[in-house]
Assembly symmetry: none
Homo-oligomer: 220 residues x 4
Amino acid sequence: MKTKDRIVAAALQLFNEQGEANVTTNHIAAHLGISPGNLYYHFRNKNDIIHRIFQQYAEHLRKSFTPVTGPASASPAVWFHYLDAIFYVMWEFRFFYANLNDILHRDPELHKKYLAVQRELAVNLQALLRELNAQQVLAIPDQEIEPLTQTLKMVVSFWVSYQSAQSLDPRISQAVLYEGVARVLLLLKPYFHPEKGAELAKLSEHYQALARTPSDPFHK
Amino acid sequence: MKTKDRIVAAALQLFNEQGEANVTTNHIAAHLGISPGNLYYHFRNKNDIIHRIFQQYAEHLRKSFTPVTGPASASPAVWFHYLDAIFYVMWEFRFFYANLNDILHRDPELHKKYLAVQRELAVNLQALLRELNAQQVLAIPDQEIEPLTQTLKMVVSFWVSYQSAQSLDPRISQAVLYEGVARVLLLLKPYFHPEKGAELAKLSEHYQALARTPSDPFHK
Amino acid sequence: MKTKDRIVAAALQLFNEQGEANVTTNHIAAHLGISPGNLYYHFRNKNDIIHRIFQQYAEHLRKSFTPVTGPASASPAVWFHYLDAIFYVMWEFRFFYANLNDILHRDPELHKKYLAVQRELAVNLQALLRELNAQQVLAIPDQEIEPLTQTLKMVVSFWVSYQSAQSLDPRISQAVLYEGVARVLLLLKPYFHPEKGAELAKLSEHYQALARTPSDPFHK
Amino acid sequence: MKTKDRIVAAALQLFNEQGEANVTTNHIAAHLGISPGNLYYHFRNKNDIIHRIFQQYAEHLRKSFTPVTGPASASPAVWFHYLDAIFYVMWEFRFFYANLNDILHRDPELHKKYLAVQRELAVNLQALLRELNAQQVLAIPDQEIEPLTQTLKMVVSFWVSYQSAQSLDPRISQAVLYEGVARVLLLLKPYFHPEKGAELAKLSEHYQALARTPSDPFHK
DNA sequence: CATGAATGAGTCTTCATTCAT
DNA sequence: GATGAATGAAGACTCATTCAT
């Protein structure tokens, strides 16, 4: 792995573990055993590193949530697979949502990129819900689709942060991530077509089981 | 107002406006026209101020969400009045949720207090939902009550933060707060008893109207 | 002497001795035996110190060159006394002209103040020359007054810098300053009224004698 | 042009435009599209580059100011042509006089070269003035020749620097250079033989006209 | 109660220079 | 000749905190 990539990886790891504000460029360099000058050879400043991380975040997110249309979209399982992946992205970049406003309001350029990604996500998510409506999987009143997508996004975005605050140990387990998926299913549950109830129950049970499985805690 | 209280008030205001990390003890003192030494006469350190603010936060929250039982609880309007108040508390102490993990994991003592308050809140909120179930206002399956309270807490807690990130201007308007209340109502909507639908619709419309009302933006 | 003044004095001394670019805020603090933080308690930044020094420079200059009109102005000796003083100011603030452009173009606000002082000086100097013209001491053609003042200013301003470059030892002696005064007299010599020649010669000889007197070198 | 020469040319340009202290070796390399390592293949260090620039400066100066004796020296026009050229050299290497002391006192070897060039110049200039004295063009008292050459050198050397400081825009126009020549003529004017007055006036007018001609500003 | 000068470790960043390839 | 990654000492500046008065 090239030094530039190692810097990004180390920064991401340390940001997630200790919070972006508590990780200095010197920490990152020391963690990698390189000189601070070398870090600044590859990046103009700390913000530049965050931009690069955000780029990775956005790519991961797009990959995890490319709306699949057509026959495949018939199965809710497909969609929830995506949810699964998205939660993982949220976990991988949890430092970002832990200080969302600090990071964004300090850097308008990044903020614009963030808003663009959010808009794209919202559009895709709404399209997905409409598709599921059309396929008679869900039955969401039209005027509720938009607020519901917002709520879903909020729960997904802040789940890790919120759960991390719920115990003195900042580390959360993988089980907690699955619990987050189950929570999203629960939010959608009232909108499922009656005859799809069994299907949903199965999915839901799957995630609740995973949530009950003891697992090594991720480091915060 | 005593100096000690003025310090707390100024700190809260500045934390909310500029983020806790960006407000130094010297800023607070300068804002009040007092010396840094004086500030440290009243508080051992910055964290001590945050403790005091948290205490206020907890008190406000308790006042806003004392579970009312008995005849008054019949009317959902009463409860939603509380919701209204809670959102205002979230607004008043928005800096806290904007950096929840940083603030808590830096100070285990504060973290314990936070967890205690959260537990209390969760208990009260669940009691409230059960009461509304009993009064045939809501019909929430028993095993969904706990996850639903968590989701409600999340939406309430992070609403301000999340909305502030949705535009380049960190300030949000009062309308956005009302929108948050409407969002909570929407989360509960699927669980309302059919014959209470009209009542809910009225409440909901009330908040949506307020959310549509243009208003001066609060300064974030 | 207050710390704030000691900082200004130390900065001026070190700037003069080593060049402004080679003197860091840490050097200044260490030289005074104070912490860097203390220095920044008194001044927002290095430029702020330079501003304060410039203020002193401007005050010294005004004091040294208040145009005396009326009977006293009759004697050229009075005026050359001023020149004497001005050269001393140039010596006291020699770091400034040693890096004139760097310092000014880095700080437009300071540049404006500099230009204002320069204009004032030019006006006063021209008034002085006209007065001496009127008193039949000098006989400068009108259209040459302005360029002559400029040349005088240049010689006065850069004399120290130029002389410091003329030997490997950056320190210059007081004698060199007197030589500068003599040089200015020489510039004016062609414009003296014939019958004032003796007077001039006497003055000139005075300074040349001083210039010949061995003296401890100032530390550059 | 060889890389080595391109480095010198780029360094000179950037030094002049931005000041020697503000131009890093990396800037120079980047400006040329070469690697810093390559720059250090050709030059041991930054000072080495300055040495090479100084060498060019000295050559230009010698070329511009080779004292022409014999019949050609009869015409003052010839000499002022040289002055013209010298001012251009001062312009071409203006960064050097803008930080004269910093550059020289940091590098004794360079300083020695500088002093040698200066001595040579002084000798030549004095020879020139004596020649013009002999040809009855000028009539400078013997003991004033040496101080006058010094003053001339000062005005020539610092003219660009001084003028650049006289406005907020560091760039100066070609007109300002011609003004400098006119200023030198003015310094000599009192020493011109009466019957050469017309000749001088013509020359002087020539330069003043050029100085009045609007021209694109050079980039400082 | 209050002042305000002082501390010092720490932050981000720069840059001349080196060196393996 | 040339690359470009790497070094590390140094610079300007910050800030929670202390303490003599």
